[in-house]
């Protein structure tokens, strides 16, 4: 191909893609303004000593070194991993189960879909406050009132270090599972019904159909939603902030809450807060890379 022809071809491609670029331009500009630029600014800020949000002095990785020396960082990291663990235990399978049950409902499927989604429309803080009334250790607390019917003494739920993280994950799951279930339902509706018919003719029962048709069909969707769930739960902030304030004894302190405390804890240290944010981003990047490698290996082997 001569140079002239190549140039004409490139120009033609550019003309073809111009419309697509024009459509994407506003989104790219918004992304750049609201996501990429602040992200880069955070990385820069994490390398500086700051006065409020003004950069004062370049300090290299000193902010990172200080964070690693903070005994609360280790605790917050372990807690955040515990949030992730419990989120996978409680929160990953729940929407799949809900989607399967609702999809199989012979009647009122629309009602169940709406009902499952309803907690999602509740403002996040209202949901946490609502549940705090449930978990209240006072006699008037909702759970204690129910327990009292069986003669049980009132008990405190939110001062038990081992229990609080699962309770917070329970609240998040209650609020978010309905929306995720809708996505799974969309995935389930895309499965070819002939597969089920063929399996039924071959004598496959409900569980074999589930194992050999349904779950493999939504595997990719489930994998993507799992990584999104890990990313979301790793950034958990307002639930422990409102429900337990990070306590008791910092047992619900998450990395995001630690970052928040660097700003609001009395020394207004935006440099260290940014460094914590960058560390969270790096950890999540690591998770995603590992997930992609494992996923690719699985696809290759198939």
């Amino acid at each position: 191909m001569t140079d002239m022809k190549r140039r004409l071809s490139n120009r033609s491609k550019l003309r073809q893609n111009a419309a697509a670029w024009m459509i994407m331009a506003p989104s790219i500009a918004l992304f750049a303004f609201f996501i990429w630029v602040p992200l880069l600014q955070s990385v820069v800020m994490s390398l500086f000593e700051t006065t409020n949000i003004t950069l004062d002095k370049f300090v290299g990785f000193a902010n990172y070194a200080d964070i690693f020396q903070n005994p609360l960082f280790g605790k917050a990291l372990v807690n955040t991993l515990m949030y992730t663990f419990w989120s996978l235990v409680i929160g990953f399978l729940t929407p799949i189960f809900m989607a399967l049950v609702i999809s199989e409902a012979p009647r009122w499927r629309g009602f169940f879909r709406t009902a499952a989604y309803l907690p999602n429309i509740l403002p996040a803080l209202a949901a946490v406050l609502l549940w705090s009334a449930f978990f209240s250790g006072e006699e008037s607390g909702a759970i204690n009132s129910i327990l009292a019917l069986f003669g049980a003494e009132p008990t405190s739920f939110l001062d038990k270090s081992w229990l609080v993280i699962p309770l917070i994950v329970l609240i998040s799951t209650w609020k978010g599972a309905g929306a995720t279930a809708l996505i799974y339902m969309a995935g389930l509706s895309g499965i070819n019904p002939e597969l089920y018919d063929a399996a039924a003719i071959d004598g496959a029962g409900v569980f074999r159909r589930l194992r050999h048709i349904t779950l493999p069909s939504i595997f990719n969707l489930g994998s993507t939603l799992m990584i999104l769930q890990i990313i979301a739960i790793f950034q958990i902030l307002y639930e422990p902030m409102v429900l337990t304030h990070g306590g008791p004894d910092n047992s619900t302190l998450s990395l995001m809450l630690l970052m928040w405390r660097y700003i609001t804890g009395g020394d207004m240290d935006y440099g260290k807060a940014s460094a914590t944010g960058v560390l969270i981003a790096l950890i999540l990047l690591g998770f995603t890379v590992i997930y992609n490698i494992l996923n690719k290996r699985k696809s290759d082997s198939v």
Binding site: T51, G137, G247, G266
Partner: protein, 511 residues
């Protein structure tokens, strides 16, 4: 289609129900309830019947003459009462603005509902949207000054003749190293003990003359709390052991156990700040809190998640009989949470037998946006003068003070004397006379609290000097542990906090 409409109706009904349920949630922050134009009480319930046709204070009916037609400024007043505030309160504030624009025709006042918190203020200050005047607590002025987030108002204060009335303690608190001043005191508080007299009465702890048999020592507090718990089933003491509140209250308890002088929690030795949390008195204070839970069992059930604001609500609704709190938040359990003023008392912070008694003293300041001009600051001071909140004894100030006292009385807030902040005997005498005229409470229920400061029974003490918020947060975690776990070791926990906090001081202050 019908099904969809039905579902939609159900969804709407649920939303409305949820909104209705959540609207009564207690608001954070303390509230002085002193009718300050930049500090509404923000209560969502008002147990006192509203005045049918609210009228401004009689002496404020005439807004007066133009004082300065040249003063041109656009000023926003933080903490302005929201539209949902009681009508009487809104009318009072609106009237003050009306007088302001009559006296200064070129001043444009802008009500701003923003209530200061450290986390929300920074973006507003940096983005140029901070209210011209706002109210941070005494823990924050030095931080805000060092972070260049507040404006210099020395010239405006001088022009208004306020500098000479400043107490030296407030000058240090509100100025930078060059002596420039960035604010003025709004109110001060001294920690004491809020009492719910209904529960004291039910527990048989009232004298025949109608005064409570309140605890004078921490030991008595535990014992009387136990009596209350046994006789009423309600908590003897509500203790906010979350965020930084637990550590904050613990410092006062520790001082009373003797954590002062050589045993001070924070001391500067040879230029180095040293923290001492493992002294005998400091450990005794944490053991005391532990005993309240595991020996006397008088704490409220959710102590580890109770905040300063919710503690007041717990007392106000009768779920606890006592709360470590101060004169600046008497409106919270009463007007906000519904406790009638005659069922409320404020008494001195309990001491320890044979030891000096201390009470933590702090307060709230008025500070100004970083780009404030002298004219804007003068316009803000003019509004405070109209509201009767500046230390001048004249007819206008008197009118403002009367309107303020009447407003508090009508809202069901105890009308009591503020703790003096200014050196002006004439102003203080006027304040006393008006308080006595409008008071709605039995003064005997507050007398010991105020007398204890004047007769030397109790010494006032400011917060620990270095990174106090950080200290409180770390100690609060230890408090949460002793409340949650009967087998916890207070001395070991404080040892850990001490080691970590010393490291923090070494890297942030001592380096």
């Amino acid at each position: 289609m019908k099904t969809r409409i039905r579902l939609f109706s159900v969804a709407i009904a649920l939303c409305m129900l949820i909104t209705a349920c959540s609207s009564g949630a207690p608001e954070g922050g303390n509230s002085s309830g002193n009718g300050d134009p930049t500090q509404p009480s923000s209560q969502t319930q008002n147990p006192v019947e509203k005045t049918p046709t609210p009228t401004p204070a009689p002496t404020q009916e005439n807004p007066g003459e133009v004082i300065d037609a040249e003063l041109t400024a656009e000023v926003s007043f933080g903490n302005y009462p929201p539209d949902t505030a009681p009508e009487l309160e809104l009318d009072t504030f609106d009237r003050w603005l009306e007088i302001l624009v009559t006296q200064y025709p070129n001043v444009t006042p802008i009500p701003d509902y923003y209530s200061y918190t450290l986390d929300t203020y920074t973006p507003r200050a940096v983005g140029g949207t901070a209210p011209t005047i706002f109210q941070p607590p005494f823990t924050d002025p030095q931080l805000l000054i060092s972070q260049k987030l507040v404006g210099d108002v020395t010239d405006a204060l001088e022009e208004y003749g306020l500098l000479e009335k400043f107490s030296p303690a407030f000058v240090d608190l509100l100025s930078d190293e060059n002596g420039r001043i960035f604010g003025m005191p709004r109110d001060t508080y001294v920690l004491g003990l809020h009492l719910n007299l209904d529960l004291f009465r039910e527990a048989g702890l009232m004298n025949e003359d109608g005064t409570p048999q309140y605890p004078k020592t921490l030991q008595e507090l535990a014992e009387k709390g136990k009596i209350i718990k046994e006789k009423t089933g309600k908590a003897g003491l509500v203790f906010p052991a979350s965020e930084t509140f637990g550590g904050w209250l613990w410092t006062n308890i520790a001082w009373n156990f003797g954590a002062v002088g050589e045993n001070a929690l924070e001391r500067q030795i040879d230029g180095r700040w040293v923290v001492n949390l493992t002294s005998e008195p400091a450990v005794a204070a944490l053991e005391y809190i532990k005993s309240l839970k595991w020996e006397y069992d008088i704490l409220n059930a959710d102590a580890t998640t109770t905040t300063w604001a919710s503690a007041h609500t717990v007392l106000g609704v009768g779920e606890a009989a006592m709360n470590f709190a101060a004169n600046d938040s008497v409106s919270n359990p009463t007007a906000t949470a519904g406790l009638p003023v005659e069922s409320f008392a404020l008494v001195p912070f309990p001491g320890v037998e044979g030891k000096d008694a201390y009470a933590l003293s702090g307060g709230t300041a008025y500070m100004f946006a970083p780009d404030v001009t002298t004219d804007e600051a003068v316009a803000c001071l003019a509004l405070l003068r109209i509201a009767g909140l500046l230390p001048f004894a004249n007819a206008e100030i008197e009118a403002g003070m009367r309107a303020d006292a009447a407003s508090r009385r009508d809202r069901g807030v105890p009308v009591i004397l503020p703790i003096p902040m200014w050196n002006d005997p004439e102003f203080l005498a006027l304040q006393k006379a008006i308080t006595e005229e409008y008071t709605n409470v039995d003064q005997r229920l507050y007398a010991d609290y105020f007398d204890s400061m004047n007769n030397g029974t109790i010494s006032l003490k400011g917060e620990e000097p270095v990174y106090s918020q950080q200290l409180y947060r770390d100690v609060t975690a230890a408090i949460e542990r002793v409340i949650a776990n009967e087998d916890s070791d207070p001395a070991a926990l404080l040892g850990m906090v001490e080691a970590n906090f010393q490291k923090f001081l070494d890297s942030n202050v001592n380096n």
